[in-house]
Amino acid sequence: MVRFKHRYLLCEVVSDDPRCRLSLEDRVLGGLIRDTIARVHGTFGAASCSIGFAVRYLNAYTGIVLLRCRKEFYQLVCSALPFVTYLENKGHRYPCFLNTLHVGGTIRTCQKFLIRYNRRQLLILLQNCTDEGEREAIQKSVTRSCLLEERSDEEELSDNGGEEAAEAMQ
């Protein structure tokens, strides 16, 4: 009942350059966002946002980043994200921007959103792909994800059925 509440920001790193995503590192990105918050919101913003700030999850292949910040100051972080314009790694500067996909209160809700989002992205990729080999690979991933979805739905239903049966017995 008395705990520190956080907000988890799910963002996507979008860039023209394909090397930009591969050079993503959590410490580099964390430092970059902290510098941006200090520039945009000053000493007050930097101090208030950096207490609970952390990069929780980073996927270099899809460019998905999960940031954590305190609930009281998440709006400062959210408003500073559009000011991140480049990613610097080993002396190379890649222009990019951060697209906020979802704001959640727990990692679990962000994960659920990310699963649904990835399924939709697979279908969009299937429409847009040109190569036959790519098309087969994407179709395989789509069918696999549908099977996983059915299985997880069945598990949820069986859990609910179990609870209802337990209530009926009482």
Binding site: A38, R39, V40, H41, G42, T43, F44, G45, S79
Partner: protein, 131 residues
């Protein structure tokens, strides 16, 4: 009784109620800048630059762009009357409080009077001298 109310015709006039919580959009501050050493002068542009750099240090570029106006400025006494929108009053006042130096010289802002009405700044009972 409910059916009778439903059959009543709609009133011809409609009422609109406007509630003003804070009638004034701006706050006015009378401030004075004091230096530790004497003989330091600033013109109006340098004074404005000092104010904006104080805001930028503490609250960043977003709040350095608050609509701040210097209504009057006296170079001899280094005192000024500032106008700021009401949402930015706390930010301006705290950044003036925490401003410590200008070009390496120690200085401090003294806030003499703050009011949502400009007319109130014309008279100050604290500076009243009773004969």
């Amino acid at each position: 009784m409910w059916s009778a109310l439903e059959k009543m015709p709609a009133p011809a006039t409609t009422y609109e109620r406007i509630v003003y919580k804070n009638p004034s959009e701006h706050h006015y501050m009378k401030v004075c800048l004091e230096f530790q050493d004497r003989g330091v002068g600033l013109n109006a542009a340098q004074f404005r630059q000092l104010l904006i750099s104080a805001l930028k240090d503490l609250f960043g570029e977003v709040d350095a762009a608050l609509p701040l106006d210097i209504l009057t400025y006296e170079e001899k006494t280094l005192s000024a009357i500032l106008r700021i929108c009401s949402s930015g009053l706390v930010k301006l006042w705290s950044s003036l409080t925490l401003l410590g130096s200008y070009k390496g010289k120690k200085c401090a802002f003294r806030v003499i009077q703050v009011s949502p009405f400009l007319l109130a700044l014309s008279g100050n009972s604290r500076e009243l001298v009773l004969d």
